[in-house]
């Protein structure tokens, strides 16, 4: 067996391989579900589709899930393009959300509505940015391992949120903050159109375009790519690598903070330690598997959000544990991760005789 690197695969063929992998993964998931629940796989998929698209409300929730996951994926992408492994999305979203919640609680009756939302927006972005800036600073200055640093920052953020959850709990002793400003709606993002989710979805759609343009058509985006390709090349070309790292992580963290702002201000109107819901990690995979391309990330977010909603429906319908969704997501991810090999490498089987003849 002989393996060589491919130069460039026609885009159609690459997409075909990836879609093929997803189809195979879905079949495996279906068979597995059928084995566990004793249903025929077609019913399983029908249940999943019902879970994701069964009612207008479900469709809105699905779109909202896609939007938030996409937002976090977009946030991590500039850092990843630079080969900076920002695994701290979870913590950055939490800090952004916490900043929003704090503004709503402390300034809710002191500021007029639009001003309050503006303050929330700014503080959330700042909080997320600071949380990403700390590891970036050490990475730029002393080359401290960012994978683990950002990972640890997640738990520090979780505990800070846990601290404030108890400080601000209402009603006392409930162990959670509950819906903030239930009566006055201060700090709640306005509802646009038919659903409270629409504004979030529109904002993330705009953000997707902005990130795409930022990475592809601006000088800063270009610098990020160069640093990601080779730090030495970047230095030689006169790019200040440390500055690029710091700036990019500020952007990355700020967008995560924005996701927290959308979650707290737009939909949940409260903060919990689990508000990020593992998206900081899922987004790593969405971003990487999309080849850091924002347009492809829309599709990846859709796939994962759909699986989650669908698996949720299966779990409720058959009284299984909700974690079933994670198993299915895991299986799909394994297949997509594996199929990248066939996009990047060419495998040729050759017989012993050919080798001997030096073919």
């Amino acid at each position: 067996m002989h393996i060589t690197k491919r130069k460039e695969m026609p885009i159609g063929q690459a997409i075909a391989i990836r879609l093929g992998a997803i189809v195979v993964a879905l079949v495996v998931c279906g068979v597995l579900t059928a084995c566990l629940t004793g249903l025929n796989p077609v019913d399983v998929y029908a249940a999943m589709l019902k879970g994701a698209f069964g009612s207008p409300r479900k469709i809105w929730v699905l779109l909202q899930e896609i939007a938030i996951l996409l937002c976090v994926s977009l946030a991590l992408t500039p850092a990843f393009r630079m080969k900076f492994w920002n695994l701290g999305g979870e913590g950055q979203v939490l800090m952004g959300g916490l900043a929003s919640a704090a503004c709503m609680l402390l300034l809710g009756d002191k500021l007029p509505g639009p001003a309050l939302i503006a303050v929330m927006f700014v503080t959330s972005l700042a909080a997320g940015a600071v949380w990403a800036f700390i590891p970036a600073m050490f990475k730029a200055r002393w080359n401290t391992n960012e994978t683990l640093f950002t990972l640890m920052m997640n738990y520090v953020a979780t505990q800070i949120v846990a601290f404030y959850t108890i400080r601000w709990e209402s009603p006392k002793g409930s162990g959670k903050i509950g819906v903030i400003n239930q009566a006055s709606h201060a700090g709640w993002l306005p509802q646009v159109g038919p659903s409270k989710y629409l504004l979030n979805i529109l904002l993330v759609a705009i953000l997707t375009v902005l990130v795409y343009v930022y990475l592809k058509y601006t000088k800063q985006g270009y610098e990020i790519s160069v640093v990601g390709e080779s730090v030495n090349t970047a230095r030689y070309a006169g790019i200040k690598v440390e500055r690029v790292i710091l700036r990019t992580l500020l952007v990355s963290g700020a967008i995560c903070g924005f996701a927290g702002f959308l979650l707290v201000g737009g939909t949940d109107h409260t903060i919990t330690t689990t508000i990020a819901g593992g998206r900081g990690f899922t987004a790593v995979m969405v971003s990487w598997l999309a080849g850091f391309n924002p347009a492809v990330m829309v599709f990846g977010s859709f796939l994962l959000a759909f699986m989650d909603a669908g698996a949720g429906e299966i779990s409720t319908a058959f009284m299984l544990n909700h974690s079933f969704g994670d198993i299915l997501t895991g299986i799909i991810l394994f297949f997509i991760i594996g199929c990248e090999f066939f996009v990047n490498y060419k495998v040729r089987f050759e017989s012993k005789r050919e080798v001997a003849e030096g073919v």
Partner: protein, 330 residues
């Protein structure tokens, strides 16, 4: 103060054993250049596979458990489950050259989901008529202490009050340390992690070493999950109870600068930090306790920063950590 230590140290040690298993496994894996972020998932899988094995054995055996089988079956199931996870990781990252971080995170998603799903649905799936999974008989076997420990007072409390897996953890850590630093296999393994191209030129089988190291690393880590359920949690599986110990184990790898023997003490320190909040008097203010829970992570960050500041060559991660090796890229 003394009586405080006598009650504190055993509790810290009990907390530390899953971390020690996890970090030893991760160190062995990282020495081959595989940064396995799937360890948290592997530990869940190890734990739940042990639970599944014990569950079926307890049900088929009725009331009386054969001690050898009662310990052996869950142990075997745990090892097989973790081994399969290790093989999956190796296949994706070594053969298919996938990105290690992404593969690891996917394994964690899968493993945690796998654990919680079977933990929550096992009873429903087999149609048993019990409210929760409670494997007290198996747990009793795993928690059996040395017979003379009772008679030794505080000395027995601190050193002999643990189930056998705790001692296994320490033995494995010492053995791994010896293997890495004093044997030929260890030298070759480190060569694979530092510079696979050179190791390859020297005739060392890169793929074989990566597979062996990562799979045995996963099996060691899986035992951590088993210890947690069977010993620490008294055989009761609760979803998400294992928590973030897997990530702490990965943090310990850095904390100990890739040394399993140091990890024995470091994990006890982490175990202590993990439960310190219980012992710190904060009065009625529960919120402050939440801040103390952040200690292990803050300490890890501090160590991470200090070791990068000192920048000593022997304190650095394996040179080729996290990168795939493709012979034709040379």
């Amino acid at each position: 103060m003394f009586s405080f230590l006598v009650s504190f140290i055993p509790r810290a040690v009990v907390q530390s054993i899953p971390l020690l298993f996890g970090s030893t496994g991760e160190i062995v894996s990282e020495k081959s250049g595989n940064l396995n972020l799937g360890i948290p998932g592997v530990m869940y899988v190890g734990g739940i596979c042990g639970v599944i094995g014990a569950f079926f054995y307890e049900h088929s055996a009725g009331g009386e458990l054969n001690p050898a089988l009662g310990i052996g079956i869950p142990l075997l199931c745990c090892l097989v489950g973790s081994l399969l996870m290790g093989l999956l990781y190796c296949f994706l990252t070594v053969n298919l050259r996938a990105n290690q971080n992404v593969t690891g995170l996917a394994m964690t998603t899968f493993g945690v989901g796998f654990g919680n799903f079977f933990g929550g649905s096992l009873i429903k799936l087999v149609g048993a008529e019990i409210p929760t999974i409670s494997l007290s008989a198996t747990s009793h076997l795993y928690r059996t202490k040395l017979p003379f420990a009772e008679g030794l007072g505080w000395f027995g409390q601190i050193f002999f009050s643990y189930g056998f897996l705790a001692y296994v953890a320490i033995i494995i850590a010492v053995a791994a340390s010896y293997m890495l630093n004093h044997t030929r296999a260890g030298l070759q393994l480190r060569a694979v992690g530092e510079d696979p191209a050179t190791a390859d030129a020297a005739g060392i089988g890169i793929t074989r070493y990566k597979y062996l190291a990562t799979c045995s690393g996963c099996m060691i880590a899986g035992l951590g999950g088993l210890y947690y359920v069977m010993d620490y949690a008294n055989g009761i599986w609760a979803n998400d109870a294992f928590g973030d110990r897997g990530w702490l184990a990965i943090a310990l790898v850095i904390f100990t600068i890739w040394r399993p023997n140091v990890s024995i003490f470091a994990s006890i320190l982490f175990g202590g930090l993990y439960i310190l909040y219980i012992f710190i008097p904060t009065g009625t203010d529960l919120a402050v306790k939440e801040l103390y829970k952040m200690l292990p992570y803050v300490v890890t960050i501090v160590v991470l920063v200090i070791s990068s500041l000192r920048n000593k060559r022997e304190n650095q991660p394996p040179e080729h950590l996290g990168l795939p090796y493709f012979r034709e890229d040379r």
